[in-house]
Symmetry: none
Subunit: 198 residues, 4 copies
């Protein structure tokens, strides 16, 4: 079954491939249009400018995670299980589209001080969800008290670090292995650290 993509979706998916390969700054609108088999002008019927394409890419990914986050928040699981569920979703999504993972991991550079909000939403918002989760966990006596602001930043960074390790791994087998074991390894690290005496 061939799914006919609407134009905006076609552009998003093409841009992901192109930007993953060349990076945002080395990706031209001409290249994206060419790869998508459309005219440059068409891009501008769906996006105000090049930046907004990246914005949209992040927005879509962010929304997936947000939806999952809200779902998890509504459940009554222990916090760490919620976190694990989110990590599983995250790495599954990346496994499903390595290119999008490369973008999430590399395009830290907010282009200018512009209207690209979903990138900063991602880079700053996601840690805040984690912080929120951690605070709840502390309240509920699930975890020890700690500087949740820092720990949340560390956890987010750790996730990004493992994702980066995976998406830039050239050996596809190793890549898959990392992506599969990442959630458990991370939860393990977060939970009990690496000490012998746990």
């Amino acid at each position: 079954m061939v799914v006919k993509l609407n134009r905006k979706e076609l552009i998003r998916q093409t841009a992901i491939q192109v930007m993953a390969e060349y990076g945002y700054h080395n990706s031209t609108t001409d290249k994206i249009a060419e790869e998508a088999g459309i005219a440059v002008g068409t891009i501008y019927n769906y996006f105000r400018n090049k930046e907004q394409i990246l914005e949209y890419i992040f927005a879509v990914e962010l929304e997936k995670r947000q939806k999952a986050f809200v779902e998890q928040q509504q459940s009554s699981k222990p916090v760490l299980e919620k976190l694990q569920a989110l990590l599983e979703l995250h790495f599954a999504e990346i496994a499903n589209n390595i290119a999008v993972g490369q973008i999430l991991v590399r395009e830290q550079q907010l282009p200018g001080k512009s209207e690209v909000t979903s990138i900063s939403d991602f880079l700053q918002g996601v840690p805040q969800w984690i912080e929120e989760l951690l605070n709840t966990a502390i309240e509920q006596g699930e975890i020890c008290t700690c500087d949740t602001r820092i720990i949340a930043a560390a956890m987010f960074g750790a996730v990004q670090g493992v994702a980066a390790k995976a998406v830039f791994e050239e050996d596809k087998n190793i890549q898959n292995q990392i992506l599969q074991s990442a959630p458990k390894e991370l939860i393990h690290l977060f939970t009990g650290g690496i000490s012998l005496d746990r």
Copy 2:
């Protein structure tokens, strides 16, 4: 006492400020020259091209860490203490120059597939040092066995995450606080995780 900087050092320090503010891609050689109070051409007496300035910035920072890493490796401390010493150096350096921290944290994007080796040395090499430390620690029975490849990537990411949190924190007090407590918090997380029952 005014320290007369040699040109290359002047350019490096100016570029750090400019690139931290605008990002590598939005920093022009003209802007760097202007800020440094020199002519554009002078930059090219010391750097082959713009990319090489960023390369040099990373190289200098990398060397500081490498020197510290080698020193620590030669000592007989427990691995986790070595790691803590390195984190302390890292965050102290960042505290000393926030701008350089912003660059280390944001410029993940290797410009092109070019000769910028010290950026990839930093992004790939540093995790390998950590991996090396972890492997030694496992051999010496200091920590539990784990997938050091993944855990090293996670740790490096965590450090970058906390650094990012700090360097983009606008409140200088909070920033300092994060930078000061970062090493201990991270070691704490790495060591015992966040579980209650540690």
Copy 3:
């Protein structure tokens, strides 16, 4: 009747004027664009780079001569008549566009060791045509044997020399006179030299 030139042709003709006036190296793409009444960027929609404009100028002129050369080769005239026909075409073309003549005569300097093939095709290829003609003529007993390699080079140089004399002559009347009599004078020189006793 205003002939609407397509862009590539417009650029070629404008570049001929500009390069004839300033020389290739002192002609800027900005100047060419300005004179053509288009934007610089437009040039690059039709030419890969500045060099390729010159390349194209030579290619067009070369093709005219080549076409004529092939036509002449197919006829059964004596070689010297073929040569004269070619000279007549050549000088008529120059008379028709002095600027192009200036370029053909002055831009001996292949810009770099680059892809500019039609310049060397012109500077090396045309003498080879002449050599070919001479060899045929010798075979057919039309002319005496001689070192055709050298004589061809000399003849090509002589043509270039007379063309140079004409195109840089400021007096338009004299210029026209030279261009008109050039073919016959050259053929005369080539045929019988300047001796009294011919």
Copy 4:
């Protein structure tokens, strides 16, 4: 015996090599200085600017020819013998320094409309000497009447053409052969043309 060159001569000879290899426009003063083993600044103690180096190169070559021309003029030889003597000198000089030949042949492009007089002296003056010789020859009944202006331009061009053929010939044996036979071949061509019935 090592001849210690004075600075100006050193620069001239180095510039000949560099400009022959890269062409005037692609030869940098830095490169010339480096090859000469001196500082860039030193060049400017002997030449007002880069252009003046080329000017001087032509001036030196021009003077050699001029001296020979004057000498020949003072003799009572038939004009064609004078011409042959001059051609022999010319090609001998080129054989002696191929690089200088390449420059004489390629740098037709007067850099700007500047003070470089010896290039135009060479390109316009030498044909005038020839014209002068031809006029004398006609007066003395040595040669037939002809448009000496055109024939002189043609002869000069022929000489340049053969020189070009020689100096860009890669096979050194062929090169030498051309340079040796050039004067006679040219005189032969000029005298009797290439007709059978001479």
